[in-house]
Each structure stands twice: as C-alpha cells, then as structure tokens.
C-alpha cells in the first residue's frame, strides 16, 4: 500500500523540488500540494492523507498550528514538519503540537523518504542536523541520567524557567542549574532544547511525556 501525502510549502521552487524527489518513490503518492496554510488544512480535512508534509512558516496558517489542529480534530493524519530552519525551538513546539517528526528542506531525497516512511509507520523522526552527535555513533547510548534529572529535563522541556522548576520540585534554582548541566554533559547537548531532542532520540524520555 502506498503512502498518501500532501505537501504544503509556500515557495514554488522548493515545492517543485520536493515533488520531484517524491515522484521517484514508488510507494508514495502525493495527493495534494498547497502554497498556504488554510488551503493545506482544508486539503487535510478532505483528503485525510497518511502523512502531511508541512512547512513551518506559511501565509495564512503555520505548520505548527496545522499540526495542532490535526490533533484537536482527531484526524488520522501524521504531521511531518519541513523547514529550512534548523532552529531547535521550532522542533519542540511542533512536537508538542503533535508532529511526529522534523525534516530539513535541504535533506536529500533518501532522507526525506526515510523520514516519511518512519512516521507513516508510527515512528518518530528527528532530522540528523538537529541532533548531530547521534549520527556519528548510533550505538553509543548515553550515560544514564538520574530520576531527578529526568524530572528536571521534562519540566524544562515544557517551557518552565529554572525558577519555576525549583519551586515545583522544592529545590534551589542553583540545584536546577546543576542538574541541567549534568544532563547536557551526559547527553552531549549544548542547550535545553537539544538535550530534550537527544533524550527523545535516545529514548530517555517518551514523546507522550512531553505532551501531557
């Protein structure tokens, strides 16, 4: 069974490029292409494709909002976010909104196809450029993080400040910082968002935990 797709991207040249990528895949079928958010949303409602490839920034409605709407309306559509940004804060907000993955527009055709196949199967795909270290040694699992660190990481991923985390866990703000530094160190991350993504990738935290 082929994977039915819609593609929403406001830039005609990149849209054409992506379509050309997808046209080569036998198991994929692009059923709709859109240049703005609103018509993309309408197409999703009407066509109910397996996977929606959504650009983050589009006129009318952005990719993250569409993802949220899909989740709210309970549509059987998996959102895969596409963007030329490697800005990590977008990743978390789209994942929180319900996206199952994130691919850079500059990815190769193979990477794109692989990402689509993974999310269509119900998996989670995070682009390698977002969390680079994993690609280098996929087998190396990180040093295990403690339960407390995990708690701190989850709260931080939900967007709480150091102060808020401190008051929630009845610890000092300094301790929160210490925990975060230790988490970064163990996961090999440079910041909060990256550590969150790496934690997802390593299976330290589940996507569902992020969403509640």
């Amino acid at each position: 069974m082929s994977i039915e797709l819609i593609l929403a991207d406001d830039h005609p040249l990149t849209r054409a490029g992506l379509l050309a990528y997808l046209a080569r895949e036998q198991d994929m079928n692009v059923v709709g292409e859109y240049a703005d958010g609103e018509s993309a949303m309408a197409g999703i409602r009407e066509l109910k494709p397996h996977v929606a490839l959504l650009d983050i920034r589009m006129p009318g409605m952005d990719g993250v909002s569409i993802t949220r709407k899909i989740k709210e309306e309970g549509l059987p559509v998996t959102a895969l976010i596409l963007t030329s940004y490697d800005a990590q804060q977008y990743v978390l907000s789209s994942l929180r909104a319900g996206a199952r993955g994130y691919v850079l527009k500059s990815s190769s055709a193979d990477t794109l196809s692989r990402a689509i196949r993974i999310v269509a199967r119900g998996g989670l795909y995070l682009d390698s450029e977002v969390a680079n270290t994993v690609e280098e040694g996929e087998n190396t699992s990180p040093e295990p993080i403690s339960a407390r660190e995990r708690e701190v990481l989850l709260l931080a991923a939900k967007g709480l400040s150091g102060k808020e985390i401190a008051s929630k866990l009845f610890i000092s703000e300094r301790t929160v910082q210490t925990h975060l530094a230790s988490i970064y160190d163990k996961l090999g991350a440079r910041n909060k968002t990256e550590s969150m993504l790496l934690a997802l990738k390593f299976g330290v935290v589940m996507l569902e935990e992020l969403l509640d």
């Binding site: 830039h11 040249l13 990149t14 054409a16 490029g17 992506l18 050309a20 990528y21 080569r24 920034r57 030329s84 940004y85 527009k105 500059s106 190769s108 055709a109």
Partner: protein
C-alpha cells in the same frame, strides 16, 4: 557641613556687634544716669541751702547783697526762677508744719502728692518720666520755715533727660528688632539656602526633580528654586528622550535585522534549497541524458532567480539610484513601489531642485515610508507626490493619498505603541534641519508635508 556652619557664623557675627553695642550702651546709660542724678542733687541741695539763708523770720527774702538773685526773684514771684548761669529752678516756702505759704504750685502739688519723707539737706527725685524733679528741702529762719527747691530734669538736661527714660524702651525694642531681623534673615534666606543646597547636592540629575516647599523664602531664592526645578525637569526629560531615542534606534535596528533575515529566508535561501534539490535530481543515477539536462536547465533558471532576488534585496537595502539625484531616485522608487503594491503614484517635481546626499536620502526614505504606510494602513489606490520650491526658497515635499486616513495621535503615543514609521520620518527630516507635518482625518486620506528651509 563646614560651609553650613559658616552661614551660622555669619549670622552670629551679624548679631554680635549690636549685642556688644547694646551692652556697652546700657552700662554707659547706668553710669551717665548716676552722674546726672548726682549733679542734679548737688545743684538743688546747694540751691535750697542758699535760698534758705535768704529767708527772714517773716518768711520773705530779706535785703541782701545778691542783687541778681533778688531781681530774678521779683520777676518770678510765682516760685520759678530763671537767671543767667543757673538752671530754671522751682522753689516753695512751707511752714514748719508743712503748710504751703507761697512759691511754686508745681512743687506744692508734687510735695502733696508724693509726700516724701525727704531728709533735710538731702536731695531725691520725684515724678515720672516726663516730669521728673530732683528736690531738696532746707530749714530757714531758724527752723521756722521750710524751703523746698526743685529742678526739673527736662529744664536741667533738656532732651537728654527724655532719652534716659526712653532709653530702656528703645533698648528693648532695638534688641527685639535685631533678633527679629536676624531671625527673619535666617528664616527667609539662610534656611532656604541650606534646604536648597541640600536638595541640590543630593539630587540625582536626570532621574529626580526638585520639589521643595520654601515658605517665607525670599523671592530671589524662590526664583532660584523654580529655575532648579525647571532644570531638573529638563534633565529628566533629556535623559528620558535620549533613552527613548537609543531604545528606538536599537529597536529599529532589530526590526531591520528581523526583516532582512526574513527576506533572505523567504527569498534566496528557498531558492538555494531548490537549487540543491535540482542538482541532486540531476545527479540521480537513473537519469537519462535528457533528464539530467532538464534538471540542469532548471537549476540554472533557479540560480538566475536567486541572483535577481539578491539584487532586489541589495537595491532595497542601499538603493543605487540615490546617486542619480533626488528626482531620479524618486522616479525609480515610485515606479517600483507602484508595480510592487499595485497603486497609482503621480510624481511631480521641480527639475531645478538640487539636494545634497543627506537631504536626498531623507526625502527618499520619507517617500518610501509614506507610500508603504498609505498602502498598508490606508489602503490607498492613488498617491500624489509633489516636490517643489516653497515661497521662501526652501523645498517642500507633499505626499497625499486617497486612503482612509487615521486619527492623528501624538507621534510619541504611536511610537509607544510600536509604530515608529511616523516618528522615523519626523526624525529623518529634523536630522537634515527640516520638519514634517501630518494632516489626516478618518475617511479623508492623509497628507504628509516635509519642509526644508
């Protein structure tokens, strides 16, 4: 603190001389009075004694050798003697029992009223301030009569006598006057200066204003305070304006960066992404020669598009037609804007206008901003731009649109709400020494007039 003490020292040193003079004068007064009293007493004692010697057993003056004395006496039978070399002197003759026989009624009254126990031969004073008499009595004709002599201080010492009575009052008044004056000086000058000095030295210029109540202070000091108040308010305003200005500059810079970043993202970056995609597609192993050629052709087209967009971005950032002069630059700008926004722009200008680079840039940016505003906020369809000399030989730029206008608020308010367009235009004009006027009513379009003298 030392300086403040100095003010007190000055007050004290102002107060000191009058106090010293007062003390000395009082001592002097006491001494003078003593000697005057002594003088009057000596005189009257001597006079009375001498007069008594002339009184015969009948109580009248017997014949004697002192012709001058007689003479005077005859003239002044009423008991008041005036003669050369002596003070005008009263006298009266009483019986042994103290009954008035003849002489000065004044002395009779005085003796009756006061009824003093005057010891024989010893003078003393009776009467009040204005009618003080020094009197003495002496027995005459072997104790048969009593002669009383009196000299009025007023006659003997004249105005000096009055001064002695007034002196204590004057002294007290002078003392009170002095204290009041010094207090007044302190209250209306020294103290306000101290308060003002303290307020000024502890004031944080630019973040505080002086607000002082100085009741009773001298008008000059009040004016000084008012001036300081104004200055401190001015300093606050200046600092605030500077902060706002710097803030604006930073915000404008940030906005510009965001805009440029977005422009690059939406334009060239997307193009280059598409270019990469095409090159990858061209390299595909399954391609026929025709496929590869098609992808490469597409890639070339995309590369051209990228170049065009980059060029447009460069033109936007630093328009090269600015170098062609104001009229050319405006023609170029309005043609582009007309195409970009789909509005009609009617540009009219006086060909003879020549401007410096700064002025050209200012007018150029004002037009750019004004047209953008007309389209975005006013939804104008037609815009008339006119550049001409005004009556005074300056340059006047008018931009009129048929958009739906707006309620003019203070540009400071608009700026506070994040709309810096209008204040940016104002600043552009004022930087080159000009001014900007905005006329707009809801539903009637907007007219922006920039003038340069």
């Amino acid at each position: 603190m030392k300086d403040r003490n100095r003010l007190f020292c000055i007050v004290l040193s102002v107060l000191l001389p009058p106090l010293v003079i007062l003390a000395l004068a009082t001592t002097d007064l006491v001494h003078s009075r003593k000697s005057l009293t002594t003088l009057a007493r000596l005189y009257i004692e001597h006079f009375t004694e001498k007069l008594a010697a002339y009184i015969g057993s009948d109580g009248t003056f017997g014949p004697d050798d002192d012709a001058a004395f007689y003479y005077s006496f005859d003239k002044c039978a009423h008991g008041f003697l005036t003669f050369p070399g002596r003070f005008p002197t009263y006298f009266a003759v009483f019986s042994k029992e103290g009954k008035f026989i003849y002489g000065s009624k004044k002395l009779m009254n005085a003796m009756n009223k006061e009824n003093p126990e005057v010891p024989m031969g010893h003078a003393h004073e009776i009467g009040g301030m204005s009618d003080r008499l020094t009197v003495a009595k002496s027995p005459a004709a072997g104790g048969k009569f009593l002669v009383v002599g009196g000299v009025a201080w007023e006659d003997m010492f004249g105005a000096a006598a009055m001064a002695f009575f007034l002196w204590p009052i004057l002294t007290v008044l002078a003392a009170i006057w002095g204290v009041v004056t010094v207090w007044n000086l302190f209250y209306s000058v020294i103290n306000p200066i101290n308060i003002l000095e303290h307020a000024t030295s502890t004031l944080q210029w630019g973040s505080e204003t002086i607000k002082l109540q100085l009741p009773g202070a001298n008008p000059q000091i009040i004016r000084m305070r008012d001036t300081l108040e104004r200055l401190s308010r001015g300093a606050c305003r200046t600092i605030k304006a500077n902060r706002t200005y710097v803030n604006d500059l930073v915000n404008v810079q940030e906005d510009e960066r965001t805009k440029i970043s977005r422009d690059i993202h939406d334009g060239p970056l997307q193009d280059v992404t598409a270019l990469i995609q095409r090159l990858r597609l061209a390299r595909n192993a399954d391609n026929t020669e025709e496929d590869t050629k098609r992808e490469l052709d597409l890639a070339e087209k995309i590369a051209f598009t990228t170049m065009k967009e980059m060029r447009a971005l460069c033109d936007f950032l630093n328009p090269p037609w600015l170098e062609l002069g104001l009229s050319q630059a405006l023609t170029e700008l309005t043609e582009r804007q007309s195409l970009q926004y789909g509005v009609k722009i009617y540009l009219g200008f006086d060909e003879s206008i020549e401007t410096s680079d700064n002025v050209t840039l200012a007018f150029f940016r004002v037009v750019q901003e004004a047209v953008t505003n007309s389209v975005h906020h006013g939804e104008a369809k037609n815009i008339w731009i006119d550049l001409k000399h005004n009556q005074t030989g300056g340059i006047e730029l008018t931009i009129q649109d048929d958009g739906h206008g707006f309620d003019i608020k203070d540009t400071a308010d608009l700026r506070a709400e994040g709309h810096r367009g209008l204040s940016n235009m104002e600043e552009r004009m004022s930087l080159v020494g000009g001014s900007l006027k905005i006329i707009s009513y809801r539903g009637e379009g907007t007219c922006i007039r920039g003038s340069l003298p």
